[in-house]
């Protein structure tokens, strides 16, 4: 390969549940080292897209590539480069933080010694080094989220996808999580796809893909999208992009 492929490439993806079309010909890319926000209301199709990226559902139409590795043709290689934080909690509450990490490491073929080293590093990076031996159940919501992000990085993925990671967190914890993810992009060069319905999580320089009713309404740098719509802020721009009357009930 002569040039770096996009961290995530979504091309012509459609998905339906029975007769209902949940995704309609969605295409966009996440550039290497980019912080890309997938913006959409609840039910816009964000979770469906995540289920396709994480292979819970089969891709019926279109292509998804992680670092140029086709998810349908070479799923193992694609998944090895992908880190995921799901919307619902996926930690084993009865096990300790470290035990959760060792299990995840084993699922990626990483031995215990190396797993222990990485666990120490990652927990230190999210300021939870002293909680390694605690049961997950004893952590707060914000701490669990930080643990989940650290765990998603155990196998050193180059792309991290997060599905509404700040849902249910207080303002302080939300800011922490967002800072953590942005730090990964700035310092580690990890690419991030951040799904949310909250426009205040967007920075002017972020890449934004607006999803509405299964269709990609807009894709571009946040500041440019705002300018194009002539809106005063990102929230107004979002409403303009998806149509004011449709956004009305949701705000």
């Amino acid at each position: 390969m002569s040039e770096t492929p996009p961290a995530l490439e979504i091309f012509g993806v459609s998905h339906r549940y029975g007769a209902r079309l949940a995704l309609d010909d969605v295409s966009f890319c996440v550039a290497p080292g980019a912080f890309c926000v997938l913006l959409g209301l609840n039910g816009a199709g964000k979770s469906t897209l995540f289920s396709l990226i994480t292979r819970l559902f089969a891709l019926r139409q279109g292509t998804i590539k992680v670092l140029g590795r086709d998810l349908s043709q070479d799923p193992g290689a694609a998944l090895a480069a992908l880190g995921v934080v799901f919307q619902s909690r996926t930690l084993d509450l009865d096990l300790s933080v470290a035990q959760n990490f060792y299990y995840h490491a084993a699922l990626h073929g990483i031995g215990r010694k190396e797993a222990a080293r990485r666990t120490g590093e990652l927990l230190a990076a999210v300021n939870l080094a002293d909680r390694a031996k605690d049961k997950v159940r004893a952590l707060s919501g914000g701490q669990m989220r930080r643990v989940e992000i650290a765990r998603a990085l155990l196998h050193h993925p180059r792309l991290l996808v997060l599905d509404e990671p700040t849902v249910g967190l207080d303002i302080g914890a939300r800011a922490d999580i967002l800072k953590l993810a942005r730090g990964l992009v700035a310092q580690e060069g990890v690419s991030v796809l951040w799904a949310t319905h909250l426009t205040d999580e967007i920075d002017p320089g972020d890449d934004v893909a607006v999803l509405h009713k299964g269709r990609l309404r807009a894709h571009g740098v946040a500041a440019e999208l705002r300018e194009k719509t002539g809106a005063a802020d990102m929230k107004a721009a979002f409403i303009a992009l998806i149509g004011a009357e449709e956004a009305g009930g949701a705000w």
Binding site: N42, A58, S72, L79, Q99, G109
Partner: protein, 282 residues
């Protein structure tokens, strides 16, 4: 730097497969240790049958000498293989119950995110569940030993491969069912429609020739029930013998159930994709 700049490697080594398998088994073991009630109830259930049901029935049922036994036996001795299989039946269904729970809670999603082939991951999960069930069976045999149920010592060894195969078959059946069940509540229904009919319409509690005397139709149902063959496989193995028909049927069923479960969890062909939206239908 907490992550490397290099993309993850494309291919997994044999050693990596072993690490993964070990990890899946280790987690199952940890979960089992943490759920002490599960272990206690797995042990108490067959003991209730042994101490109460078998004692009460002892005088009611008379037995002729049937293989693999070479002498008249007590009813307690007769139902022991059936109770061993029952432990594994419950365990198989219970670990699949935990898969439904896992899927709802998201742990299953973590498992399926692993870059290893899905068939391998599910097989690893089956092995882990089977090992737990074998531990439970031996714990039961220790207690039963003091209740004067003493199979030949070498039988305790020869029964091990039979227990592994039966564990795999019942675990795979549970896994197949778990893929068909969308939510936890639906599962208790399947337990009633699977566990009880399988257990009662088998040779676990009564020899099939006695069933035939009572109801020829039920006899054929029992013959067609894979659980009957699982019980007979264990019964013969416990006395150092091989029941070839039971072995063939159990092996074939294990294979079919496993293939079905792997297909069902395959995203491109499976049943998961045909169902509603993610996050349990929101």
């Amino acid at each position: 730097m907490v992550t490397t700049g290099e993309p993850a490697p494309r291919h997994l080594t044999f050693g990596a497969y072993l690490i993964c398998l070990q990890g899946v088994i280790w987690r199952e073991g940890l979960r089992f240790l943490h759920q002490r009630e599960r272990f206690v109830s797995a042990l108490v259930r067959p003991l209730v049958w042994l101490f109460i049901f078998a004692a009460g029935f002892r005088q009611t049922l008379g037995f002729s000498i049937i293989p693999p036994y070479d002498t008249y036996i007590l009813y307690e001795v007769y139902i022991t293989p059936g109770l061993m299989a029952m432990i594994q039946l419950f365990n198989g269904m219970q670990s699949s119950l935990s898969m439904v729970y896992d899927r709802e809670m998201g742990n299953m999603r973590v498992l399926l995110l692993s870059p290893f082939p899905r068939a391998f991951l599910l097989f690893g999960k089956l092995i882990a569940g089977t090992l737990v069930s074998v531990l439970q069976v031996y714990a039961y045999l220790v207690v039963a030993w003091f209740w004067d149920i003493q199979p030949p010592p070498f039988g305790l060894l020869t029964v091990l491969p039979a227990l592994l195969l039966v564990g795999l078959m019942l675990g795979a059946l549970g896994m197949l069912l778990s893929s068909l069940v969308k939510q936890l509540e639906n599962f208790s229904g399947i337990m009633n429609f699977v566990i009880f009919p399988m257990f009662f319409a088998s040779s676990a509690l009564y020899p099939l020739w006695r069933v035939q005397e009572g109801s020829p139709a039920l006899y054929y149902v029992c013959q067609a029930n894979p659980f009957t063959h699982a019980v007979e496989l264990i019964r013969f193995a416990l006395y150092g013998q091989i029941n070839w028909i039971a072995l063939t049927v159990t092996g074939a069923c294990a294979f079919v159930f496993m293939a079905g479960a792997i297909l069902a969890y395959d995203p491109s062909r499976g049943l998961m994709a045909l169902r509603g939206a993610p996050g349990a239908g929101n």
